[in-house]
């Protein structure tokens, strides 16, 4: 257990009310204010604000169904029909000057997508056409932006596939998506999104089908771009190992809202929102380096027929967007919930350097926070 810095015991300061017109943080490449996404009257993303600076990686984590993918798509104006978006998403186009993407026209958005901001969607299959070879699709993406020759585009497509670890990339470029394995498809989509070196890459669960080595290779490819062109990455992920190892800041969502945001180490080592603690408590015991005697090493699980321990999971189920409880949406599942929580929506409050929390009882969250969710003998 790493030593966690103790948060200063200063009273939390209420953040200024989020306004779509609040200025971008100095130097931000992407600046989001009070972003909301609704299906009709039903709001599923409920007021997110964050900034991403050049070379920065922001992780978006949270409960399945919390609104991460809709947020990711909203950043590029790529939401399904029937949704309305409000708030502000600004992309820097020159020092001190920003383009507003919420409400931008289709041609304006189309001009930015791919070159300035690109999406790696969660559903890799949907990003690829089944009727064209993968390499042709990548080459077409290059040609649509740069007026390069066919053969140059082709060479860049093969190089991009090679970079994400597709073996024998020149041959594989001629294959169709259905001839790729799940993990290869995922990598092809990453290659496609990054091929024009956009300033901001929004990647939605880009490594779910990849083992640890490939995952790191792919994240390195995304990282090289950041170094080379000062790009930024918004990474939606369930993999807290990726969050810890590859991101600078993390924003934790529950039921469409931010529950906590801050520097990655700080949030993971000393979470102040019970929901964040619950996520950490649910992880299976960490992988041991030596591969010792677990089934991943081939041998039977120690203890023979003894049944496995249960993982501590959060009690209850996530709320349905059209039946959110009043006050804090996490209250029905929260071990610290009290009356106030069921009446008033909490925060956000700034509890330390760049660390914001939306919890009435953030100061009562224990250390280590995972203790909140340990199954206690009755």
């Amino acid at each position: 257990m790493p030593d966690a810095p103790l948060a200063p015991r200063t009273p939390p300061s209420a953040s200024p009310p989020p306004s779509p017109r609040a200025p971008a943080a100095p130097g931000a490449l992407l600046s989001v204010r009070d972003l909301r996404v609704a299906f009709g009257a039903l709001e599923v993303v409920r007021g997110l604000s964050f900034d991403v600076r050049p070379r920065e990686v922001l992780a978006l984590v949270g409960e399945s169904g919390a609104g991460k993918s809709l947020t990711a798509r909203a950043l590029l104006g790529m939401l399904p029909r029937g949704t309305t978006t409000s708030g502000s998403v600004r992309l820097r186009d020159a020092p001190g000057s920003y383009a507003e993407l919420v409400g931008a026209t289709r041609p304006a958005l189309a001009a930015l997508r791919g070159r300035r901001i690109a999406l790696v969607p969660q559903d890799a299959l949907s990003a690829l056409s089944p009727v064209h070879p993968v390499g042709d699709q990548l080459a077409a993406a290059v040609r649509s932006v740069d007026g390069v020759s066919r053969s140059q585009a082709r060479a860049r497509a093969v190089a991009a596939l090679d970079r994400v670890g597709i073996p024998d990339a020149a041959r594989r470029a001629r294959a169709y998506p259905h001839e790729y394995s799940g993990g290869m498809r995922q990598r092809a989509v990453i290659a496609m999104a990054t091929i024009n070196e956009p300033d901001v890459v929004v990647a939605d669960e880009p490594t779910t089908a990849l083992d640890a080595d490939l995952r790191d290779q792919v994240l390195r490819v995304l990282g090289e771009q950041r170094e080379a062109v000062g790009a930024a990455l918004v990474l939606v992920t369930h993999d807290l190992g990726v969050v810890r190892g590859h991101t600078d800041r993390v924003l934790v969502m529950y039921a469409g809202r931010q529950v906590e945001q801050g520097p990655t180490r700080r949030v993971l080592d000393r979470p102040r929102a019970p929901y964040t603690a619950g996520l950490l408590a649910s992880l299976p015991p960490a992988d041991s380096e030596d591969g010792e005697d677990g089934p991943a090493g081939g041998a039977p699980r120690p203890g023979g027929s003894g049944r496995r321990r249960r993982l501590p999971a959060l009690p209850g189920t996530p709320p349905v967007p059209d039946a959110l409880p009043p006050g804090c949406a996490f209250a029905p599942r929260c071990p610290l919930a009290e009356d106030r929580c069921r009446r008033e929506e909490p925060g956000p409050w700034t509890v330390g350097d760049g660390h914001e929390v939306s919890c009435h009882r953030w100061d009562d969250v224990p250390y280590p926070a995972t203790e909140l969710f340990l199954e206690r003998p009755a």
Binding site: G278, S282, R301
Partner: protein, 227 residues
């Protein structure tokens, strides 16, 4: 010692795509009540192996015995009554479900097909959704109206609806956050303890495999290799 028959007995399985051999003489067994993890790097042939086990793609060679019956020589019609007993959960969360059917109907279908649909059917469907952590209100939706993780859980609920003996789980929890994932893994463990379900389990997360599987085999370039 060797008297007992494995629930699933795979011998010398071969899958070829044209000139490419994706699965090259792979053999393994899975017992009732057991979880076997199929590990290996991306592209090594795991999904191809399970497709051939389930006879979704006929293998070029080899034998697949399930509950003592050889599947590779059965016709599609002969396979049909066996299919509910070996259910897949696919790698692509949206791939397990037809885009044209509401979640409720997708989960109910196995009950209908097996003639087990009755007055208690709707409650069974609701209970299955609830057990995978999906509010039954999501039953009204179509797959594209669900998040990735919600869709993955709907696929698991559907696979469980037919009361299988063997679940073939290809990255079943990869789209789930840690807490929902823990709930689904606990559910699968409980079902195994209570009903003796067997799992053939593909998951790239070593910590999850270590926690969840009884045994593991390792694949590289289409072949099993010593772990």
């Amino acid at each position: 010692m060797n008297q007992h028959t494995a629930l699933l007995d795979v011998r010398d399985l071969v899958v070829r795509y044209g000139a490419v051999t994706a699965v090259d003489h792979v053999s393994f067994t899975v017992d009732a009540g057991e979880t076997l993890a199929l590990n290996g790097p991306s592209g090594c042939g795991k999904s191809s192996t399970v497709a051939a086990v389930l006879q979704l793609r006929r293998p070029e060679n080899g034998s697949v015995r399930f509950e003592g019956r050889e599947l590779t020589t059965l016709s599609e019609r002969e396979l049909r009554p066996l299919r509910p007993r070996m259910q897949p959960v696919f790698q692509d969360p949206y791939g397990s479900l037809s885009p044209r059917h509401r979640i409720r109907d997708a989960v109910a279908e196995p009950l209908r097909v097996q003639g087990r649909w009755d007055a208690a059917g709707p409650a069974r469907v609701a209970a299955l959704l609830d057990r995978v952590g999906l509010d039954p209100a999501y039953g009204d939706r179509f797959p594209h109206e669900l998040s990735g993780g919600q869709c993955q859980r709907a696929g698991i609920a559907r696979a469980l609806a037919s009361e299988p003996r063997l679940l073939v789980l290809d990255e079943p929890v990869s789209a789930l956050d840690p807490s929902v994932r823990a709930g689904v893994l606990n559910l699968l463990a409980d079902l195994q303890d209570d009903l003796g379900l067997a799992y053939l389990f593909i998951c790239h997360d070593r910590a999850v495999v270590r926690h969840f599987a009884d045994r593991a085999v390792e694949m590289r370039g289409g072949r099993l290799v010593p772990a």
